[in-house]
C-alpha cells in the first residue's frame, strides 16, 4: 500500500473519533494534560513556600534550622516523595510535549508510556534511599 493512502486512512479513522486540531481530548493525550496541570499547580505553590523558608538563612541559623527540621519529619518525608513524584512527572511530560511540538505528534501516545516508564524507574531510584534517610534519623 502506498504510504499516502495509509496516512489518509489513519487520518479518516482519527478524525471520526475526535475533533480535529487537538491531541488533548480523551485517552493518553488528555490524561497527560490533566496530570501536567495538577502537578504544575502543586509545584508552583511548593515553590512559593520553599523560597520563603530558604530566605530564613538571611534571618538567623536558628530560624532556618527550626523550619527546615519540619521537612525532616516522617509525614513531610512522605510529602517529599509526592513532591519529587510530581516534579519528575512534570519534567518528563514537559520533554514529551516539546518532542511532539517540534518533532512528531504521532508518537504522543507511545511517548506517554515512555514518560510513565521513566517516572517509575526514577522513583524506584529515589524513594527507598529518601525514606531510609527520613526514617533512620
Amino acid at each position: 500500500m502506498p504510504k499516502s493512502a495509509g496516512a489518509l486512512t489513519a487520518q479518516r479513522r482519527t478524525t471520526s473519533r475526535r475533533p480535529a486540531g487537538t491531541l488533548y481530548r480523551g485517552r493518553e493525550g488528555m490524561w497527560s494534560w490533566v496530570l501536567h496541570r495538577i502537578t504544575g499547580v502543586a509545584i508552583f505553590f511548593f515553590l512559593l513556600v520553599h523560597i520563603l523558608d530558604t530566605a530564613l538563612v538571611r534571618v538567623s541559623p536558628e530560624a532556618y534550622n527550626a523550619v527546615i527540621s519540619q521537612y525532616q519529619t516522617p509525614i513531610m518525608g512522605l510529602g517529599e516523595v509526592a513532591l519529587v513524584g510530581a516534579i519528575v512527572f512534570h519534567a518528563f511530560n514537559g520533554l514529551r510535549i516539546i518532542a511532539i511540538d517540534f518533532w512528531n505528534a504521532k508518537y504522543q501516545r507511545v511517548l506517554f508510556y515512555v514518560v510513565i516508564g521513566l517516572w517509575v524507574v526514577t522513583m524506584l531510584a529515589f524513594t527507598p534511599r529518601h525514606l531510609i534517610n527520613v526514617f533512620s534519623h
Binding site: 475533533p19 480535529a20 486540531g21 523560597i51 538567623s60 541559623p61 517529599e80 529518601h130
Partner: protein
Amino acid sequence: MTSTLAAPRSPYARTPQKRGVNWEKWGWIYMRVSGIVLVVLIFGHLFVNLMVGEGVSALNFAFVAGKLANPFWQWWDVAMLWLALIHGGNGMRTLVNDYATTRVSRGILKSAILAAVVILIVLGTLVVFTFDACPVGQPADLLPTFCQAL
C-alpha cells in the same frame, strides 16, 4: 460536532495583530526553553540535596551556607529562582485564562500571581547575593566548619 482549536501559541483572535510582538508566541517558546534548563537545574538540586550523603536529614544552616558561599551554587540557585518562578507564574496565568470566567476575577488572580512572582524573585535574589555564611555572634556549632578559620 467537529471544531478546530487554535494552537496554544496563537495570538488572541480578539486583537488581530498585524505588527508588534506576539507575546503569546514568546511565552510559548519561553516555557519550552526554560523547561529544558529547569529539568537539569532541578534534577541537580534534588540530587545534591536529597540523594547525596544523608539527604534531607543532613539539611541545616551549615549545609546551605556551605553551598551558598560558592558562586557556582549561588548562580545555580538564582537561575532556578528566576526560571522556575516565571515558568510557574506563566503556567498559572494560563490556568487563570482557562478557568476564571469574569474579567474582574481574571484581573485579580493574574495580579496576585504577578505580585507573588516579582516579590519572591526580588527576595530570593537579595538573599542569595547578600547572604553571610558566617554571621557574627552566632553559635559556632550551627555554622559551616570553614567559619572557624576566620
